[in-house]
């Protein structure tokens, strides 16, 4: 008989299956991060401050594991160790690339972990996301609008996009919160409409199942969010939200024509943006041929590819490479910096972790048969994380034009870390409340 990967669930409790591997995975992740920090400490004697990052990470990892074991023993057992490995790896890479930013990022890990635990342990979080969807969405849109008026950029560059709201030295990117709120909104709305849509599919005239009457409110909200993001020149997030929405619509309606329409729309939008935005034009041009201007506008992508080449299969070793040549390596291009120092083996592990995230996320969605909202929410959150990781990794590898997104859990950026952890918290909750 056919064995379906996605059908497999966590071993039922009580059976002689053993939960030891959860701790083993966490211990291995811990060993990896500790070895990295020790190497950095040996290479940078007289800088004990770097240990604060490791201690915070270890505290978060251990505290989170105990609380989850206590409150949510039936959760999906793979997600948490994978996410902790990624976040520890990210902290380590930032400590190596830009020590000035490392402490800040480590401190952000605490609220991020707290938000994950809140979402995972308290079922209210899920209910609120559904029940107050209009309030939350309005709030998020308002914050997004506020960034247009009073937005700043922590880097302080005049020309940089002002996507942050600053308060007392803490900067938050409302676009990040927008991601999770929009997914919850789409999921709850589509969960109510999906039965109608599927019933109409194939029976009535083509396209009836996607009539504006069904999709009106959601299209409106979606267009509003996209417009604001485009206004802010946050094209990466706009593209991400567009893709996730189209894929969710596909899942809800079961209509493959959505995918075809999405591809057409993306190409059309890219074509229009090429002429409307100088930034898009620049990025597409250097994507098509970076070698023509390797020392100028394409410097970053060329240096990124060189980092992959310099890393080879085994990498140069932590602290031994020269990823400093890639501009802002600790943010958008952290994937290339990791490639240089940990090599292809490191990259394969990293990509496997994201692959695991995708697999578990979608498996959780499949397990939640019976709750359309839960299913669509799990699909949406997983898609958000996976699509974001894929877009930036493909950009760094010159498979796609650069989109200016962060690599979830790894890149420098507090808001991104917090929201990514919150999403994982909801996925954990969804994985546990099935039984």
């Amino acid at each position: 008989m056919r064995v379906d990967l996605t059908q497999s669930t966590a071993p039922p409790s009580g059976l002689h299956s053993g939960k030891g591997f959860r701790w083993a995975l966490l211990a291995l992740a811990c060993g990896f991060v500790l070895a990295g920090y020790t190497t950095l400490a040996l290479l940078r004697p007289g800088d004990p401050a770097l240990w604060s990052g490791f201690c915070l990470w270890l505290l978060c990892a251990a505290g989170g594991a105990f609380l989850l074991e206590l409150k949510l023993p039936a959760r999906d057992p793979y997600l948490y160790p994978a996410v902790m490995l990624l976040s520890g790896w990210g902290l380590l890479a930032i400590e190596r690339l830009a020590p000035a930013f490392a402490e800040r990022q480590a401190i952000w890990l605490v609220p991020a972990m707290a938000s994950m635990l809140l979402a995972a342990i308290f079922p209210q979080a899920l209910r609120w996301l559904r029940g107050y969807r209009y309030v939350l969405l309005t709030l998020a849109l308002a914050l997004l609008l506020a960034t247009i008026a009073v937005g700043t950029n922590p880097s302080g560059f005049e020309a940089a996009p002002r996507l942050w709201l600053g308060l007392g030295g803490i900067y938050f990117q409302p676009a990040e919160a927008m991601k999770v709120i929009l997914v919850a909104f789409f999921a709850s709305y589509l969960a109510e409409q999906s039965a109608t849509m599927r019933a109409l599919l194939g029976k009535a005239r083509a396209g009836m199942n996607l009539s504006p009457r069904l999709l009106g409110p959601i299209l409106l909200m979606w267009l509003l969010a996209l417009l604001i993001l485009l206004w802010q020149r946050d094209l990466g997030t706009a593209m991400l939200i567009f893709i996730v929405f189209m894929l969710l619509l596909y899942v809800a309606s079961g209509d493959w024509r959505i995918i075809a329409a999405a591809v057409m729309l993306v190409l059309l939008a890219a074509f229009a943006a090429y002429f409307l935005f100088d930034l898009v034009q620049l990025r597409v041009d250097i994507w098509v041929d970076p070698w023509a201007d390797a020392d100028g506008r394409a410097y970053q992508i060329v240096q990124s590819l060189m980092a992959f080449a310099a890393g080879g299969i085994f990498g140069s070793g932590l602290g031994m490479g020269a990823p400093g040549y890639i501009p802002v390596a600790h943010s958008d291009f952290i994937f290339a910096a990791i490639a240089e120092e940990w090599g292809l083996l490191g990259i394969i592990t990293l990509v496997s972790c994201y692959g695991l995230l995708a697999w578990r996320g979608f498996a959780i969605a499949l397990q939640r048969a019976g709750s359309a909202f839960g299913q669509l929410l799990a699909v949406g959150l997983t898609l958000m994380l996976v699509a974001q990781a894929l877009m930036i990794m493909a950009g760094v590898l010159k498979l796609l034009p650069l989109t200016g997104l962060t690599l979830p859990f790894i890149s420098y950026g507090g808001s991104s870390l917090l929201v990514s952890f919150f999403m994982v918290g909801i996925l954990l909750r969804l994985s546990a409340s099935e039984r």
Partner: protein
């Protein structure tokens, strides 16, 4: 130990941790797939049946784990005054079926004898809870 040796060993340790992380994940996933395969096979075809001695019409498919007790949430509801809410459970491990008393007030009997810890079940065994008695009829497997 000189610093360069230490750094080299640390690099080795980090690499081994990463590979071990991946291999552990892979191993667990493989095991789980095998288990779910077994589970699916079992769910399709029960290992046998539990037959109520005094009420031959009552027949329960044997798909471990299953629980016996007075509460409605049990796999087999034993509506007897001497039965506890969760009375006993039958589980499978190491290819054998195990009967275990769940600290019931009045105990569980196997072929008339009260059981202590976990006990292996065999075809034809009679499980007694209160006045109710179940006979285990295992389906023959090839």
């Amino acid at each position: 130990m000189s610093i360069e040796v230490a750094i080299f060993l640390l690099r080795l340790l980090a690499g081994i941790s990463l590979v071990a992380f991946l291999l552990t994940l892979f191993a667990v996933i493989m095991r789980q797939m095998r288990q779910s395969e077994a589970l699916l096979k079992l769910s399709a075809e029960p290992q046998g049946y539990l037959l109520r001695e005094d009420e031959p019409a009552e027949r329960h498919a044997l798909r471990p784990p299953l629980t016996l007790g007075r509460a409605g949430s049990n796999s087999i509801v034993v509506d007897d005054a001497f039965a506890s809410a969760l009375h006993a459970q039958i589980s499978e491990s190491e290819g054998k079926l195990w009967l275990e008393d769940c600290q019931s007030r009045n105990g569980t009997r196997l072929n008339g004898e009260p059981i202590g810890g976990r006990t292996i079940l065999a075809d034809g065994d009679i499980i007694g809870i209160g006045k109710w008695r179940y006979r285990l009829a295992l389906s023959t497997r090839e």
